[in-house]
Symmetry: C2
Subunit: 347 residues, 2 copies
């Protein structure tokens, strides 16, 4: 079984329903309705494990603290929720000093303050091997949170920001480049090490009333879009010429399109908007928020397809993103491949 | 720094306040007030790590799932909250089969159904070494949750159930006895492997209006009572003859009183009641709930003291319970010692 199949099995057999639970397992976060409250509560849990999700030599304790919180806030952003509270459980191997713990919390709290999230509790334990951080984040939303399942055939797909930049940063780290020599390298490293969750964009998008489905991009759009399609009961097509790729990676012997499709940890938002409303959304979307790009559309026919341009021949896209239970090696960017075995060339 | 000092440092520097947060870091769970709701929300996070908190050969996957949830529900019980929702993050090393995952969830869900808690989400990851389960549990309470800090000098201290039975079970496991040969051994093993969180007792105690302070016993009463005293700004004395010890352990070359004082993971409740109301509480406490025992009282003078009987000479009790950052070896029961080095003899 792969990761998604295990999650499906758990959801079907053990997932709760009723009693104030609006959305359980299967979305970026769970949605609850506290009795008597006018707010929705949104709850998510994500862990970072040493040598699976990060290497200790690649980042500072402050960067690790930042990232552990960021991946959780990104799930709240995907629901359009305002971060409110979080707990942090740290398992630490022998030899970790109090100053390390303090720096880790400092990095976490800098990001928390920026997004107005309060640390309310947690757990501390020794770890027999490796650092592990598990965070549970809670957000609130005045309107019903946007689920990934809301998109309909014909909807236009948008993403925020740039895709594949975090994977480009990871490629640099894997070559031992922990410091960037120029602005592009530093941007790529920052995307990987200290991702900025798109909370403000997510809240605006949820509040504008134009977005039908939304999720965050954690495992690469080839895999995550397939998940959105599964939830919506649709297929999709994306247009290669429209992908906001990280072009600088071309100079680093990387294919920016492959990075954009299969590189994980961008923590950008993917969202679906009715075709009738897409122009209006682009017109009113605030310029102070990260830029948005149309990248394709949902379609009735199942499967995720790729076209270089609108009108050019479609090719089926295989999920090349990251799956915890498919790859036996430590988490890393993996080149995407078409089913016919030809590598995807940059558009 | 020991575990409590690290938690203090985190609480002082980074602990949140305001914005609906009634109680942050420092109690068994955090307490929140959702906007517009008449309920209090209570949130706790606890992790279990292989070779720190358990050994894989000691328990079945179902027992592990049970225990990972039980330690969290026990924190909700300590606040008097009704369990409502939980998330489960599992990190699993290579070689764990889907059937193992299923059995683990089955054990978790059996306990969850008993206490009416819904599984609402989680995370799954490969682990480079060892099984780790982190659970975040959410409960609700119509009345203000009982904090550990509410006790006052003169208050009578009570505990539920039997103390030291889980530690007696652990002692059996450490001798390779994973199956009990008689009812006492099986009770001890069950206490350690599948602890029963005292949710119903906790809710009754919080609802009766007679309890001023409450916490659960996870690290041994010698350490946990010192924590309650710290939170209340008091000292305490306990009466050896009143401790509900697990007498059967005497036949297993264990000292039941040491186990009761310093053995962890009993997950019973410790609570403080005004001296004027203690008799009334005992009279009205329902017989269907786990029995309660007076074990001592809070006092104005700092320090935790031990007397064999009311009226006999007090001796200062050192904290001998479990601290994650003090003991360099895997978590295990540790014999308690007086500061003068003489071992505590059974009363």
């Amino acid at each position: 079984m792969n990761e998604d199949q295990i999650v499906q099995m758990i959801r079907k057999r053990y997932g709760g329903s009723g009693r104030g639970l609006i959305q359980g397992i299967g979305d970026d976060a769970a949605v609850l309705r506290p009795r008597g409250s006018r707010e929705y509560w949104v709850i998510t849990t994500d862990m970072l494990l040493e040598d699976v999700d990060f290497r200790r030599t690649w980042l500072t304790p402050a960067q690790l603290g930042h990232k552990a919180l960021a991946v959780n806030l990104s799930d709240l952003a995907a629901m359009g929720a305002q971060p409110r509270y979080f707990t942090a459980a740290l398992a630490l191997p022998p030899g970790i000093r109090p100053s390390w713990i303090q720096a880790c919390y400092q990095g976490m709290m800098r990001l928390a303050r920026k997004h107005e999230a309060l640390l309310i509790g947690g757990d501390l334990s020794r770890s027999p091997a490796g650092i592990q951080i598990t965070i549970t984040a809670i957000g609130t939303s005045a309107q019903k949170p946007i689920l990934r399942s809301g998109g309909r055939p014909g909807d236009i797909l948008f993403v925020t920001g740039v895709l594949g930049r975090a994977a480009a940063g990871l490629a640099l780290l894997q070559r031992g480049r922990t410091r960037g020599n120029n602005p592009a390298e530093r941007r790529a490293l920052n995307s990987h090490l200290t991702p900025q969750p798109r909370c403000k964009a997510g809240m605006w998008l949820a509040g504008c009333g134009l977005v039908r489905g939304m999720m965050d991009l954690s495992d690469g759009i080839s895999m995550d879009l397939a998940r959105m399609c599964e939830a919506c009961g649709t297929g999709a097509e994306i247009f290669g010429s429209r992908l906001p790729v990280f072009a600088a990676a071309r100079g680093w012997q990387c294919d920016p399109v492959e990075l954009a499709l299969d590189g994980g940890e961008d923590f950008e938002l993917l969202f679906a908007v009715s075709a009738r409303k897409a122009d209006y959304l682009e017109a009113v979307y605030p310029s102070r928020l990260p830029p948005i790009h149309r990248i394709g559309r949902l379609r009735r026919e199942r499967g995720v397809f790729w076209r270089v341009e609108v009108g050019s021949a479609p090719r089926r896209l295989a999920s090349g993103g990251f799956d915890h239970f498919r790859h036996p090696r430590p988490k890393r960017w993996k080149a995407g491949k078409f089913p016919n075995g030809t590598k995807l060339s940059g558009a």
